[in-house]
Symmetry: D3
Subunit: 325 residues, 6 copies
C-alpha cells in the first residue's frame, strides 16, 4: 500500500485515511470524565498528535495494547489548536505492516544512501587491504554481520541513530580516511581501512535495534562493558582466526580501545600510533558533520538553530546566503 | 654466604667486605680528569653511594658492563661527606648470586609474609567458592601462574612494588573482602573472592619483572592495552573453559574493567553491582594502607613525612605517642 | 490501633478503613470547577494518591490545615487509572497518633535494626577504648545525645535518610572498622572507634528532624557551617572536658575535618594519618552499600535499576541468578 | 652598627667589610678536593653568593654551625663570573645582631609602613564598630596578639611573606573595605571591619615565624587543620567571651570559613551574605595587587616580567611610559 | 495617566481598572471546552496572572495579537485560588503607551539612579583623564552612544538586566575603581577610568534591547563574536581616531579582552598589568553585589533565599537583625 | 661553501673542519679553574656539544659575543664520553653566512617542500574561490605577506616550528580541507579555503622570527592579545577593503576566533557553522600528524618513543614491521 499523506504536508481541514507508525499510545480520561485515545503518529517526515474521543471499554482495551513501532490505519480530519496541527481520529485500527505491503522507507528515518551500495563500497575497500591478516579480519566481520549492518543504526540516539546509520558512518569515515592517506603519506592505508571498518562493529552487540534501525536500548553486555571493550575482546578471536601476529592483534585492539580518545568518553588509552590517532579524528569529524547537518536542517538563512545538547549546547548559524540543497 | 653488613647500619670508618646488589653503575670522569667508578649499592635495608678511584681501562671496561640487579662483592671503608655516608671502594668484583649462595631476602624489598603461605591462603579461599564455574576460573588462573605469582611485584613502582607484592595485595584484599561480607550480608562471597583473585592477574603480562620482583618496565601490550583490558580480554577464554554462562562471564569482565572506578584511572565503566563496587574499595584501601605504612616508616613521632606524590602530595603525620612495632 | 492495610498490598475494589501518614495535602479545583481534596497517603511500605470529591467550605478549611507527618483515618475504595492505583476517599479525619496508639514502625522507613541494640553495640565499643580521654569523648557524646540518636536520620535525603539512620550508619562503619584493624594491624583501634563514633555526630545539629526521623531541612548553622566544621568546633570543648592533650584534640578534629576527603565534598584537608584515611573509606563504603541495596530493591533479576543520581547516574544490575533475601 | 654596603649596590672589585644575614651556608669540597665555605649573604636589597677557600677543620666546624637568620661580619672582594657578581670572602665571623646594634630594617624585607601605625589604624577602625559584641571580639584579638602582629608575615611564602606582612594585608583590606561600604550602601560596616580583622588572625598559630617575620614552616595544627578552620574554632570561645548571640557567632565563623571561596583553596562553604562575599574579594584583590607590585618591581618599561607561578604563570607587562615611583 | 494599582498591593475582592504591561498572552481552551484569554500582567512591582472567560472569535483574534511589552487597560476583580491572587478580567483593551502618557518608570524595572545623573558622573570622570588619547577614546564613545546608554540593560538576563543597567554597572565600578586608586597607589587612575568605561561598551551591539531596557536576545555578531571581542575589534578604530600609540591601543584592547579573566568566561588572556587585574575585580564585585541585593530583596530576616543559579546555586542568608532600607 | 660534515654522521676520531650554526655559547670555568669555551653547534641534522680549552682573555671576550643563529667555522676532533659524542675544538672563528655563501638549507630545520611551491599551491586555491570578496581577502593577505611567509615558522616551539612551517601547515590543511568537501558535500569550499588561509595569518605578528624561521619569542601584542584575536581584529580592515558584507565579515572573524575550539586554548567561542567546525579539525589533525611524524622519527621498530609533552605525555609506538621511508 503506497503512502499518500505525509505528516509534514497535512493541511487544516484535510480529511485523510492512511497508515502511520505508532509512538506513544495511551488511554486517558479527559476533564469531562470521558475516556479518549491519545497517540503520536509518525512517518519519515515527522510526528503528529491524534485523539479519538468516545472510546468504549472494548476498543480501549484493544488500543491500549498498541506499542511503539506498531502500525495503524487511521481515518481522521486535520484540526488546529493554537497553531499546532492535530488529528481528530474517526477510525483507527491496527494493521500488519508486511501483509499490507508497507514500504518501510516511508515510515522511518534512514541514511541518504542505500545500504547495499554503502556495504559494497566498504567491502571493496576491505578487498584493497594488502596485509592478508587484516584483510581477512575485515571481510570476515563484514560478511558475518552483513544482515544486521543493512539496518543497524550508528547509535541509540544522537548522531547516526537511523536506519543504516552504522554503515553510513563507516562509509564516510572510510572515504575520508583514504583521502587523508594521500595528504599524510606516512600513514599506512591498510591500518586506516581496517581500523575504520572494525572500530564500531560491536555496536551490533551493544545496542538493541529492530530491523527498522530503531533502537530500544542497550544489551546487558552493552551496559556492563560497552562497544569499545566488546570490540577489543572480540578482536582476540577474530585475529586468531585470521592468523594475525600478537603485535598486530594488540595494535588492532588498541585502535578500537583508543578511538574515543578521552578516558571520560570510554577510552582507557590514548592513540599511540598515527593511524589510531587519525581514526579518532575521522570518527569525531563524521559525527560532527552529521550533527551540524541535522541541526541546521530546516533553519532559515540568517538565523540560529536551537541549542544542540550534543554540541556543547551550541546554537548553530545558517548564513543568510546559504541555499539549501 | 650470609650477609654481615647492612646499608642502614654502617658507621663512619667501618671497614667492610660484603655483597651488595647494583643499581645504577657508571664510569665517570672527575674534575681532575681522572676516571672513576660510581655506583649505588643496595640491600633490603637501603642504598648507599660508592666510588672507586683510579680505575684503569680494563677494569673500567669490566665495571661498565654491570647492570641493575647484578651482584658485587665489595671491600670498602665508610666515609662521610656533609653528613651523608659514602663508600670509598677499595676492591669490587662481580659475583654470581646463586653460586655464592646469597639469600635474596637479604637484598631485596619483599612482602612481609612468605609467598607460599600467601598463595596457600588465596588458593584456600578459592576452594571455598560455591559456584563451580567461578571456582574453576580462579583455581586455573592461580595454578597456571603459580610460578610467577611467587615473586611478581604488584606494580612497576608505587604501592606493592616489591617481591611478592602482587600476592600480598591480593591476600590482604581477600582477607578484608571476606570480613566485609560479614557486615554487608547482601554481598555474595563467591563474587568477592573471584573478583579479588582475578582483578590484577594480568599485571603478570603488563609488567616486565625478574625473579627478584624488580620491574624493568611495561610490555608492549601493557602499554597499548593495560592490565585492566588485558584481564578483560583474557577472561573471555578462561570463562569459556570453565563453562561460565555469558551473563557470568560478562559480570566477571565488568568487575575487572570497573575496578579502577574512574575513567581517568583506566576504567571505562563504573561498578554496576555491589561486589564490583566493593572490589574497588578493597583495592583502594589496600593501596592506601600500603602507602601510609611505607611513608610513615622511619618518621619520628610528632613529625610529618615528606610529601608523598602518590597520595596527592600529602605530608603524613606520625603522632608523638605512636610506638613503632 | 494495629494497622491492617498496607499501601503496597492494596487491590482494586478493596474497601478499606485504616490510618495513614499525610505527605502533601491540598485543596484543588477540578476541570468541572468543583473543589476536591488531593492527598498522598503513606505508610512504611510506600505511597498512594487519594482524592475526596465534594468537599464543602468547612471541610476544605479543616483539611487544608493538614501538614506533612500528620495522621489521618481514611475510609475509601481502591480504584485504578491507567494501571495506577488510587484511593477514592469517602471519609477522612485527622487523628492523634499517640492517643490512637499507632505503632510508628508501621508508618515510617526505619533502619533494619532496633535503635537501642545499635546504640548498645556502639556504646560497648566505646567502652573498649583504652585511651581514657578518647573514651570519655565518645561516651559523653553518646550519652548526651542518646535521645536524639534513637531516631535521627543519617542525612536529609540520600543514604541513611531514615529513622535511626545515623545510628545504623555509625554501627556498620564501626563493625567494619574493627575488622579492618585485624587485617591492617598498624591501625590503632582506639582512634578508629573514636573517629567513627564522632565523625557525623554534629549531623544532630546540622539537620532538622522530627522524632520520626524525617528531616525538614537544615538549620541555620547547618547551612552556614555544615556538620563537618560544626563537629570540629564542638570537639574543642569536648576534648577540653575529657582532658585530651592538644595533639590528640587536633588529631580528632582532623579526622572529622578530613573524612569527606575531597575539598568539593566539604573537607578542607585530606587525611594525614592512617586511621583518618580508613575513616573516609569506611564512610564511603557504608554509604555505597546502602545506596546499592536501596537501588536494587525491587529490581527483577537480569534487569537494571533506574539511573541513580547519587551514584554518578549509574544504572545498577541485578543478576538473573540473584535471589532476594 | 650602621650598614654601608647593600647587595644590590656592589660593584666589581669593591673591597667591602659589613654585616649580612645568612641564608643557606654549607661546607663543600671542590673539584680540587679542597674544602670551602659556601654561603648566600643577604640584606633587604637582595642576595649574593660568597665563597671562602682554604677552610681548615676548626673553622669549617664553626662555620658549619651557621644557620638561616644568623648574622655574619664579612670582609671580601667583589668578583664576577659570567656576569654574576660573587664575593670572594677573606674573613667571616658570626656576630650577635643585638649586641652589635644592627638595625633589622637593613636586613629584612618588610612592609612599607611601620607596624605600630598600621596597628593603630586597625585598632581605630575596630573602635568604630557599633555592635558591642563584634567590637569586643576584634579588640580582644588585637590586644591579645599585639606583640606577634608587629612582626608576623602574612604567609609562609608568596604574597605578604615579609615582616609586618599580616598587618599590612589587614590594613589595606580594611581601608578598601570601608570605601566599598560607601559605594555599596547595603553593606554593614561593622561586619566588614570585623570580618577583615579576624579573617587571617589564626595565621599566627598556623605559621611558625621568628621575630624577623621569617617563616620556617607550619605548626602541627597548621598542617592538620589550617588557619581557616583554626580561626573558626577559636571564634567559638572569643564570641562566647564577647557575649555574641549564636546567630552572630555562626555568621562570624562563616565569614572566616568562606573567605577563600573555592573548596580547593580551603573553604568548605561559599559566602552566603554580602559582607562575607566582599571579604573574599578584598582578600583576593589585596593579594593580587601585592603580587603585581612585587613581580613588576625592577622590570624595565616596555618589557615583561618572568612568569609568576602564583599568578597562573602569567608574565606581567610594564608599559614603556610607566615611571617607577 | 498616572498609575493607581500596583500588582504587589492588590487585595482580594478589589475591583480595579488600570494599565499594565503584557508578558505572555495567549488564547487557551478550558476543560469545559470554552475559549479563554490567559495573560500575565506586570508593572515595576511584580506579576499577576489574569484570565478573561467568554472570549468570542473576534475578541480572541485581537487579543492573540498582543505581544510582550505591549500595554493594556484592564477592568477586573481580584480573586484568590489556593492562596495565589489572580485577576478575573472583565474588560481588556490594548492601549498606546505614549498617547496615554504612561510613565514608564511605573512599569519597568530600572536602575535606582536616574540615567542622566549616572551619565554625567561617568562623563565627568572621563574628563579627568590626563592622557589626551585615552580621554578622547572615552568621551567619543560616551557621546556617540549617549542615546542608547540612557536605557540599555547591562545584560540579557542576570545582573543589571534592567533599564539603565549598563550605566549603573559602569558608574558603580568607576566609583569603586577610583577609591581603589587611593588605596593601591601604584595604580594609574587614567587606565582605571578608561578601562571601566570601555569594558562593556559593545554590549550595545551584542544585545538587542528596546527603549525600555528589555532585551529580546543577542545579535548575530553578539552570538558569533561576543561583546568582549567586539569591544576589542572596535577599539582598533577608536584608538586610531584618538591618535593613541600602538602600545596604548594594544593595552586597552588587552583590558577589554582580559576582563572576564577565565577562558571559560570568554577571556582568551588573563590580565597582565595591574589596572587590567583591578578591572576584573571591579566587574566581579559589582555583579556580585547586584546579585546579592536582588536575591535578598524580600527575604525575611533569619531566613535563606532560594538557591541562586548565577551564584553557584547558593542560598543566601539575611540575618534576623538586618533591617531593610 | 658547501657543507661536508653533518652532525648526525660524525664518527669518533674524525678530524673535521666545517661550518655550523651556534646555539647557546658561553665562557665557563672548569673544575681546574681554567677558562673554556662551551658551545652547542648545529646543522639541519642535529646538535653536538663542543668545548675549546685554553681560551685567553681576548679570545674569550670575542667568543662570548656569539649569539644564537650566528655561524662559526670550526676545526675539531670528534671524541666520545660515556657514549656521547663531543667536539674537542682546536680552532673556531665567527663567519658571515652570506659572504661565505652558506646554503641555509644545510643548517636549519625546514619544511619538506620548497616554500615557493607551497605558496603557489595556496595562491592557486585562493584563485579558485568563487566569492569575490573572500577571494580578495585571501589574495591580498597572501601577497602582502609573501616575503615573510617564505620563511615563517608555524609556532615558536612545538609543531611546525621550522623554516616555512607556517606555509607547510596551511598547505596541508588546505589539501585536506578540499578533500573533505568532496566527502561532506554540504560544505562550501569557498569558506574552507578562506578559513584555512586566514586562520593563522597573524602568527606573522604574534611571533618574532628571523629569516631562518627561528623564533626568538613573542611580540608585545602577541603576548597581550595572541594571534587569534590579532587575526580577528585585522580581518575588520581586510574585509572592509574587500567589500565584504557585515555578515560575511563577522563569519570570517568567527572562524578565526573559534578555530582553537576550547576556551582554555584561546577560543572564546566554539564553531557555529560547519566550515568553522571543519577548520578546527583540519588544524588539529595537521598538528597531530606533524607531532607523530616528528616523535617517531628515529625510533626503532617494535619500540616506543620518549613521552611527548605536547601529546598529553604519551609514548608513541612504531610497529616492528614499519619501514621508514
Amino acid at each position: 500500500m503506497s503512502k499518500e499523506f505525509y505528516v509534514n504536508n497535512l493541511n487544516v481541514n484535510d480529511e485523510i485515511a492512511d497508515c502511520f507508525m505508532v509512538k506513544g499510545a495511551s488511554i486517558k480520561v479527559g476533564a469531562n470524565h470521558k475516556t479518549y485515545f491519545d497517540v503520536t503518529l509518525c512517518d519519515r517526515s515527522g510526528d503528529i498528535n491524534g485523539k479519538k474521543w468516545d472510546v468504549d471499554e472494548t476498543e480501549g482495551a484493544n488500543l491500549s495494547k498498541l506499542s511503539d513501532g506498531d502500525f495503524v490505519w487511521v481515518k481522521a480530519t486535520v484540526s488546529e489548536w493554537n497553531g499546532i496541527k492535530q488529528l481528530r481520529i474517526i477510525k483507527v485500527k491496527r494493521i500488519d505492516s508486511s501483509s499490507e505491503g508497507l514500504d518501510m522507507q516511508d515510515y522511518i528515518k534512514a541514511a541518504p544512501e542505500p545500504s547495499d551500495s554503502m556495504y559494497a563500497f566498504i567491502l571493496d575497500k576491505a578487498q584493497d587491504i594488502k596485509d592478508e591478516g587484516l584483510k581477512k579480519v575485515c571481510i570476515d566481520a563484514l560478511e558475518e554481520n552483513k544482515d544486521r549492518l543493512m539496518y543497524y543504526p550508528g547509535a541509540m540516539r544522537n548522531h547516526h541513530a537511523e536506519y543504516g546509520g552504522l554503515l553510513y558512518h563507516t562509509k564516510r569515515m572510510l572515504d575520508m580516511g583514504l583521502r587523508a592517506c594521500s595528504v599524510y603519506t606516512d600513514l599506512d592505508p591498510d591500518w586506516v581501512i581496517c581500523g575504520v571498518i572494525m572500530h564500531d562493529m560491536e555496536k551490533l552487540n551493544e545496542i538493541e535495534a529492530n530491523e527498522l534501525g530503531i533502537s530500544s536500548g542497550y544489551t546487558v553486555k552493552g551496559n556492563l562493558l560497552g562497544h569499545i571493550v566488546l570490540g577489543t575482546i572480540r578482536m582476540e578471536e577474530r585475529a586468531k582466526k585470521a592468523g594475525l601476529s600478537e603485535e598486530k592483534t594488540v595494535m588492532l585492539q588498541h585502535m578500537i580501545l583508543a578511538h574515543h580518545y578521552e578516558p571520560e568518553y570510554g577510552s582507557p588509552v590514548r592513540p599511540m600510533f598515527p593511524e589510531a590517532e587519525l581514526l579518532h579524528y575521522l570518527d569525531m569529524l563524521d559525527a560532527k558533520m552529521f550533527d551540524f547537518e541535522a541541526a541546521l536542517e530546516g533553519v532559515d538563512g540568517g538565523h540560529f538553530s536551537e541549542r544542540v545538547r550534543t554540541l556543547d549546547n551550541r546554537m548553530l548559524y545558517k548564513p543568510s546566503f546559504r541555499k539549501d540543497k
